[in-house]
């Protein structure tokens, strides 16, 4: 994982190779390590050829949706009639996820190089890197790297700009991100139209995650077949993934492993397992918007897109949040609901009102005033909040609630029955 620890032998270090290596942040240092060679090569290739390589590699979006990257790029108009744009999603705000931050802090040039290659592939002349406002440190390193690389003129005609966010999780949703760049409230847009047809400023646009783009130079260098071969299980999931492990483990941090890696090994071996005297109770494998797994499911889960679905959750952003037996699941689910209620943009009725109501019900349960009917109400509310809104923030609030009630019902019942002392005041 590179920083602050040395890579574990079972890691497959591609993106995190230079984490902790301060020299790699500089333009000269990056070039010394082979940087910008692939960009120079890509700029001589036909855009369609670059797209083919990425398609062949099987790379899927690392932001959370897992959409095949090459396929997404191919949606852009082949014939260029209007300005094309690439937006880089560096809004990383999904609880449990902190990998893009590391990429920007330690290998800013990897992101710049990958972005420029992508821009070439989709025939975009302008790239906006949308960095969340709270990432003051990554911003500084990106700014510096951008200045150095621009001075060295490596980007050709491609213009790369940094754009600072101002505190809104929802701006990580691709259409909300575009609205935010345009100087509007970060409201997600209804689709159609899709970004490749009418995106930022109404022009054809592709939005990619930081980790996705950082993988592009290695793929071009070592080939699509190599990347595809990096998988322990499913052929549909290739390459490596930076898993951000946090919560109740001995060694939290970012770990880079190939797709299909056992979650059990990630937690117990690479992360040093649980704290002294503790046992694993729950795990959210892909950032807070995916269902919570119980211990059995966690210990039998393979970390690729299909494997996690098999266990009843999703790979998502790869933010692994580990809860040991000391965690109050009801309280943490309330805290997640409160997160979503705070971040709701307010457009859709179900999300605007539902996230707040869900939070209130959970708070009441924690205050010792819950009823059994509240659990049915929460499930019914969650159903109304799922699959009916412009974006999936509403669904994301429902995911921990539904999975939490399903797998940890006893904890809810303890509060309702008075077996557990209230931890909140009504």
């Amino acid at each position: 994982m590179g920083y602050p620890h040395k890579p574990h032998p079972r890691e497959t270090v591609v993106l995190s190779k230079y984490f902790g290596d301060a020299d790699a942040r500089t333009y000269k240092g990056w070039v010394k390590r082979g940087g910008y060679e692939m960009l120079a090569q890509a700029l001589t290739m036909e855009p369609a050829k670059v797209i083919d390589i990425v398609k062949e590699s099987g790379l899927r979006g690392r932001g959370g949706a897992g959409f095949p990257t090459g396929l997404k790029w191919s949606f852009m108009p082949k014939e260029k009639k209007k300005p094309h744009y690439l937006c880089v999603n560096a809004d990383e705000s999904e609880p449990g996820t902190f990998k893009d931050r590391e990429i920007m802090r330690w290998t800013p040039h990897a992101l710049l190089e990958g972005s420029a290659i992508a821009a070439h592939a989709i025939q975009a002349e302008v790239v906006y890197i949308y960095i969340r406002g709270e990432f003051t440190e990554p911003w500084t390193y990106m700014e510096r790297a951008l200045a150095e690389a621009s001075a060295a003129k490596v980007f050709g005609a491609i213009k790369i700009y940094l754009h600072r966010g101002a505190g809104a999780y929802i701006c990580g949703e691709e259409t909300a991100l575009m609205n935010s760049i345009e100087g509007k409230r970060g409201n997600p847009r209804i689709k159609p139209p899709f970004p490749a047809a009418a995106g930022v400023f109404g022009m054809p646009t592709t939005i990619n995650n930081v980790e996705t783009l950082a993988a592009i130079p290695p793929i071009l260098k070592q080939g699509a077949a190599w990347y595809k071969g990096l998988s322990l299980s499913s052929p549909k999931s290739s390459g490596t993934k930076l898993f951000s492990v946090c919560g109740h483990v001995q060694k939290p941090g970012n770990y880079e492993v190939t797709m299909g890696f056992p979650l059990k090994d990630l937690v117990y071996e690479l992360c040093g397992g649980m704290r002294s005297g503790r046992t694993l109770k729950a795990c959210i494998p892909g950032g807070s918007s995916v269902p919570i797994l119980n211990r059995e499911e966690t210990e039998s889960c393979l970390l690729d897109y299909e494997g996690v679905v098999e266990r009843g959750s999703m790979l998502g952003s790869g933010g692994v949040i580990v809860f040991d037996d000391s965690a109050d699941m009801v309280y943490q689910i309330m805290r997640l609901a409160r997160f979503y209620a705070h971040e709701s943009c307010a457009q859709c009725t179900q999300c605007r009102e539902g996230t707040a109501w869900t939070t209130k019900i959970l708070e009441r349960i924690l205050a010792g005033q819950g009823k059994m009917a509240d659990l049915d109400l929460l499930l019914d509310l969650s159903e109304n909040m799922t699959g009916k809104t412009i974006c999936v923030l509403s669904d994301s609030c429902a995911a921990p609630v539904v999975s939490g009630i399903k797998r940890f019902k006893n904890e809810f019942e303890d509060y309702i029955a008075g077996r557990r002392k209230p931890v909140m005041v009504a």
């Binding site: 999904e94 996820t97 709270e134 101002a166 505190g167 100087g183 400023f201 946090c246 949040i321």
Partner: protein
């Protein structure tokens, strides 16, 4: 039915307002605007410039930004109130943001927030300490969950804060 009336509009320039966008700052904005095909896209950058210059964004500032970018004050206000990092009121000299979302929450984040409140004398989240030096708030996920608990003090992103480290941290900022 009690009603909150809006004061009749005061034409811009009748009170002594010191504009943010003049001279070098206006030039800086011009450079930024050149990156986008519309002036409106310069709104978030412009608001950051105001907050950096004045510490917060007043209604009068919003009207100025609106004028400079060809928008309406109401539109600018709608955007300012959406993004939580823009301050709509003056805050303490140092602004502390403590993440307390679940991954940090299970690692003791709430105790860190409490420690800041006690040490700075701010007492309540969102309130400014009596000496005007500190405002402490809880924020949602800061994107550094593996380094719990992360804290932003002004623009300084500090990782792995625990309650015992707070007094020294507070001392560092005068």
């Amino acid at each position: 039915m009690s009603v909150t009336a809006h004061p009749s509009s005061t034409p811009a320039g009748t009170d002594a307002y010191d504009p943010v966008f003049s001279g070098a700052v206006l030039e800086q904005l011009g450079e930024i605007l050149a990156r986008y095909p519309t002036k409106q896209a310069g709104l978030l950058p412009a608001l950051w410039i105001v907050q950096r210059a004045r510490g917060w964004i007043s209604d009068r500032n919003m009207a100025e930004v609106a004028e400079v970018l060809g928008l309406t004050p109401a539109y600018v206000k709608g955007v300012v109130t959406f993004y939580t990092m823009y301050h709509q009121h003056p805050v303490g000299k140092h602004f502390v943001q403590v993440c307390t979302t679940s991954p940090c929450n299970i690692c003791g984040a709430e105790a860190v927030a409490k420690a800041f409140l006690e040490t700075t004398g701010a007492k309540e989240l969102g309130a400014t300490s009596p000496d005007g030096k500190w405002t402490v708030i809880e924020v949602e996920c800061l994107g550094a969950c593996g380094f719990a608990t992360p804290v932003l003090v002004d623009d300084d992103f500090i990782e792995s804060v625990t309650p015992d480290k707070v007094p020294e941290l507070v001392r560092k900022y005068k």
